[in-house]
Every structure is written in C-alpha cells, then in structure tokens.
C-alpha cells in the first residue's frame, strides 16, 4: 500500500509541477489543483497509513493507543482542503478576469511574440 500511495503522490505532484510551469492560465490552475491533491495526500500519509482504525477515541479509557489512527493529520487535511479550495476558486476568477481584460489566456496577459 505504501508503494502505491507514494507513487500516487509522486505522479500527482510531478504532473502538477509540469502544468504549473506551462504558459496558459488554465493549465496553471489544473497544476495547482493536482499539486494540492498531492499535498493533501502527503499530509494524510504523515499520520501513518493504517487500515480499519478509527480516529475518534472511545470515552472509556485510552490505555492503549494502537487501535486508533492519528486524528491530527486528518484535521490538518480538512483545513488545507478548505483553504486550498478557496484560493483555487479565487485563481479561477482571476483567470477569467484576465482572459476578459487582456483577450488572451497567457499568464503574462500577452502573447510572447506580440
């Protein structure tokens, strides 16, 4: 599972970085989306990969922590998703605004040869 998980993060991050360096704004947007997926999976993975473990502790005694998953990275991922989503949405608005104002979807607002 670890191999598949890390490969997934690697592929997402790699494609994200490649798209981020492209000259079209929509590609940059998709790059950010993929990169934030990779980051979120990475944060989640930092809480150790486990199966069939609840992150919520039961009320009667927590003498043994092994049957539980680490809840902190899950909370962090949730926050990161919300913030990343909001910022990406703002990026989308700016992308459309720049397309309308400059008449091109190049990130610099003008074609390089123009």
């Amino acid at each position: 599972m670890e191999i598949i998980y890390s490969l997934a993060i690697g592929v997402l991050a790699g494609s994200g970085v490649w798209l981020l360096l492209r000259p079209r704004t929509f590609q940059v947007l998709l790059g950010f989306t993929l990169l934030s997926y990779a980051t979120n999976l990475f944060i989640f993975g930092m809480g150790r990969l486990t199966l069939h473990k609840a992150p919520i502790l039961s009320t009667h005694g927590i003498a043994d922590a092994t049957p539980y998953a680490d809840p902190v990275p899950q909370a962090l991922v949730l926050t990161a998703i919300v913030i990343g989503f909001a910022t990406t949405a703002l990026f989308l608005v700016l992308l459309l605004a720049l397309r309308g104002l400059a008449g091109t979807d190049h990130v610099d607002g003008q074609e390089p040869d123009a």
């Binding site: 990406t88 703002l90 990026f91 990130v107 607002g109």
Partner: protein, 547 residues
C-alpha cells in the same frame, strides 16, 4: 484587572476579526459608522500592542515573570491545545503592525472607501492575520494565519481592477499558492517525524531526534524555510514583489509593508527554536547578498516611484537576511531596529506614491478607480449622492503648500531608505555594521563581513543615484504637472510616520536596549519553551478543566 491582562494576548486577533465582520453588516451608505468602527478597532489594537510591549519588558514581572505570556485558547494545556505566546519579539511585531495599519486606515479614509469594495474590512482581516501569525505558538496555526493575511492581501491588491492589476494579482496569487503548498509539505514532514505541532514542544523533540530522523526533520524545515523566504521576498523567488506592490493602490501597498516582514519573523522564530541556525546562516547570508544585489540593480532601473519603492523593500530585506546570516547573536537587536525603520519608511513611501501620482496631470488627478466607477454603482448600494465622489478632490480640508510638503516627505523617505545621517536610517545601518565589526577581532575580519559592508554601502550609493533622479523628475521638471490638493487626513499619517521615525532616531537608546533584550531572549529559547510547556503542570485556571 488581572482578568483583562490575562486576555490581553488574544485581543489583537479578536478585535480586528469582530470589527471586520461587523463592518460587513453595516450598510454601504453608513460610511461614517464604518470608518469610526475601523478606527476604534485599530486604536484598541495599538493600545493592546503597547500594553503587551510593556508587559513583556522586565518592568512588570508580577504578570509574566520571564517576559513570556501564554494564552491557551480553549483552555487546553500547551502541547495539546493551541496557544498564543507573546514575548518581546512578538510584542514588537504586533506594535509595528498596529502602527502601520492605523496610519494606513487614516490615510485610506480620505478617498479609498468606495462602495462595493470592502477596503476597511479587508484591512482589518489583514491586521488579524498578521497579529495572529506573530502571536501563535502553533505551527499549523501559523499557516492558517498566513493564509488569512494572504487572503486579505489578494483582495486589497485587486482593488480597483484593471488589466495590469489583475495580471499582477494572478502572479502574486500563483507564487503564494505554491509557497503555501510548500509550507504544508514542510509542516506535515515535521509533524510526521516529531509528532507535534506546538513550536515549543517541537523545539524539545527536535533536539532529541535520532540522526536519521533529524535529517528528515531538517529537510522538512528546509522546505518550510523556502516557503517563508518566498513570502519574505528573498532573491530567486521575489520577482513578483515589485510588480505586485506597484500595481496595488497606495494604501494597500502601504499595508503590505508588514507582509514581507512576516516571513522574516517566521525565519527568526523557527530558526532559533528549532536550532537550525547553523545551516540556515550560510544560506541566509548568500541569499541576502543576492537579494541585495539584484534589488539594487532593479532600483537603478526602475522608472516609476512605486516600483522603485518596491525594490527598496527588497534591498532592506537583503540587508536583513545577510546580517542574520552572519549568525551573531548580538546582531539581532540592530537587525530588528533596521527592520522597524524600514517598515515605517516603506509605509510612508507608498502613501507618498499615492499622492505624487496625482501630480502627473489633471486627468490623473482623480484615481483611476473613481473614473472607472459609474454613478449607477453608487445607486445600487443605496447611496444618494454619487457626486460626492466625483468631486472628492475638492472636498475636505486641504493643506497649504502641498508640493513643499510632498517634496519634504520625499527627501525624508529617501534619506531613510539610503541611510544618510540626520535620520534613523543612518543609525540603523551604522549600528548594524559597527556591531558586526565590533564582534570580530580586528586582525581577522572574515571576508564575508567585508563583502556585506561593501554591498550595504554600495547599495546606499545606488539608492542616492536612483532616488535623486526620480526626485528631480517628480518635483523639479514642472511641465504638465498640477499641484494636488492634499487633505489633512491624508497628510497627517504621513507626517506622523516621519515624526515617529525621527523619534526613533532620538530615542534610539531605549529602543535599542529593548530590541537587544528581544534578541537575547530569542537566542535563549529555553525560557520560551519552559514557560509555554509549564502550562501542562496545573497552572490552568480553576473551574474550566477539560474532561
């Protein structure tokens, strides 16, 4: 009284949050109410910040015995709950932020409060994010407060729209989004290795890691450092800064003066807490020199004042980073002094930019945002007299001898940036270099120090050339320029900031003493760690114990 003092730490976050949110519910036509609410909030923040400054000094040992105050949000003890921590450095940063926000707010009341664009709320949220980041003792909370201030800054930067601004905003957003992702990766790696996010706890656990784990931890810290340095405007990742700052409207750019220093604060705080100074020092020194060099060239090449001021932000950041890179503990005080002067100067300079823009010609006398906003928009927001906005230039009390005032402020700002004698810019640079030289034996001054001295002085010379050229163009070539009518509310904060700078120069000694103490406590993180974690051992207030 003790109750109030206990909750003083949370006020710089809470007050702007509540004020900014409350302002959203006030109708657009109630401009006076909104402005007074904003003003009250900023004044409270300034008072609280001054209170924190006093309490963290040794003057009041009965409140916080060692100059470190801890506030546990939610009343959970430190390593598990989220805490706010205030020490001397945090108090200085919060005070600086309050001064910058207050003066920006007063400046913006004159002409920038346009319906439909909640400038005042955004300014409050920016202050909240910055204050929170300076006060938090939790790594992930630092990320959240970073994002709060960034989100507000996106709104401020895009104010007034227009193709150039949207383009600069897109670049700014892209760079900061990428840096935020790096921030998250760094935080996650450190959590994965050390198992905690509390900065004080992290400090202890980092020291106790096995060498293999420590390598992974350092990698995480390095990624985090890249994120901080991007936000601070360090060399290879700072090309967005002059464009973004010069595209923003004047008060927004003035408020941004504090944002780059947030990155610097984070580097200082975590660098000392996590004992990363050794590797960090070398990197900071070379990055700082590269920042200084590239920004000096940029300053010489810039044609517009706003862009030039943007580059001067980078010049000061380069000097700060390179000086920190020398890894001399006693240099932290002078570095902080230089930072304060540079923040105040930048704010003043950007405000000045907004005024000199209007001298260009009559058409530009009203800001572009006003020309672009048609009257129906005001009607849509339920405001009866749109004409009040069209003639804003003639409204209000104007100050006499506007050009003389602008010229005088320009000269003061230029002197402050360059670091010429009568003003504290000189004291700051001199203290920095003389302290660095005093710390090394005269027979064996390392080459790096000579390089730094040379670079700082050369950038000063370049600054003289660049600013005198642009000053002559602005004030002495009289063709096609009009004298702008300056209102008192605009001119007052600018004058106040210049006077504050002067006062900093006159009262340099007590200020320097406080900052030296701040630097010393920064380099002795044991006290910070001990006070934060002592919360665990039952110092909790009675009656609200968690289950």
């Amino acid at each position: 009284m003790t109750f109030v003092l206990q909750h003083l730490v949370v006020l710089p976050v809470l007050v702007p949050l509540l004020a900014g949110a409350a302002m959203l519910f006030l109708a657009e036509s109630r401009r006076v109410a909104r402005a007074s609410l904003a003003l009250a909030s900023m004044l409270i923040q300034l008072a609280v910040a001054l209170g924190l400054l006093y309490l963290t000094s040794d003057a009041a040992p009965f409140i916080w015995s060692e100059g470190v105050g801890v506030y546990s949000i939610g009343n959970w003890p430190a390593p598990f709950g989220i805490v706010l921590v205030v020490d001397r450095l945090s108090a200085v940063m919060v005070t600086l932020c309050a001064i910058v926000s207050l003066s920006t707010l007063v400046y913006s009341i004159a002409r920038w409060d346009i319906p439909g664009q909640p400038f005042h709320s955004l300014l409050q949220f920016l202050a909240m994010g910055l204050n929170g980041a300076f006060l938090t003792g939790d790594l992930f909370n630092l990320f959240v407060f970073f994002e709060v201030s960034l989100a507000a800054s996106y709104g401020l930067l895009l104010r007034g729209a227009g193709a150039a601004r949207v383009k600069a905003g897109l670049h700014y957003l892209a760079v900061n989004l990428a840096a935020s992702l790096l921030f998250l990766i760094g935080v996650a790696m450190m959590y994965g290795v050390a198992g905690t996010l509390n900065m004080a706890d992290l400090s202890i656990r980092a020291a106790a890691l096995s060498p293999a784990d420590r390598t992974l931890f350092d990698a995480g810290a390095a990624i985090l450092g890249i994120a901080f340095l991007t936000k601070a405007g360090s060399w290879p990742l700072n090309l967005w800064l002059p464009g973004a700052y010069s595209a923003a409207v004047a008060p927004a750019a003035a408020a941004f003066a504090m944002m780059t220093k947030l990155g610097l604060y984070a580097v200082l705080r975590l660098g000392t807490l996590l004992h990363e100074d050794k590797t960090l020092g070398v990197a900071l020194f070379y990055l700082g020199l590269a920042t200084l060099g590239s920004a000096t060239i940029g300053m010489l090449a810039a044609k517009h004042l706003a862009r030039q001021v943007g580059y001067s932000v980078l010049v000061s950041m380069g000097i700060l980073l390179a000086a920190l890179g020398l890894r001399m503990e006693s240099l932290t005080g002078p570095v902080l002094y230089y930072m304060i002067v540079s923040v105040l100067t930048t704010t003043t300079f950007f405000m000045l930019t907004g005024m000199t823009e209007r001298t260009r010609n009559i058409k530009a006398a009203t800001p572009a945002t006003h020309a672009e906003s048609p009257p129906p928009r005001h009607l849509a927001y339920g405001i009866k007299e749109p004409s009040a906005y069209d003639t804003r230039d003639d409204a209000g009390v104007a100050i006499p001898a506007a050009m003389a005032f602008l010229g005088l402020v320009f000269v003061c700002c230029a002197l402050l940036v360059i670091g010429l004698p009568p003003l504290p810019g000189f004291i700051a640079k001199f203290a920095l270099l003389s302290e660095a030289l005093a710390q090394t034996p005269t027979t064996a001054v390392p080459a790096s120090l000579w390089v730094l001295c040379g670079a700082v002085l050369l950038s000063g010379v370049a600054g003289i050339i660049a600013f005198s050229r642009i000053g002559m163009r602005l004030f002495w070539s009289v063709t096609a320029r009009t004298t702008p009518r300056l209102r008192v509310v605009e001119a007052a904060p600018v004058a106040a900031l210049v006077i504050l700078c002067l006062a900093l120069g006159i009262a340099a000694e007590p200020v320097a003493r406080y900052l030296d103490a701040a630097g010393r406590s920064l380099h002795a993180p044991d006290i910070y760690v001990r006070v934060v974690l002592s919360q665990r051992d039952g110092q909790r207030p009675a009656g609200a114990s968690p289950p």
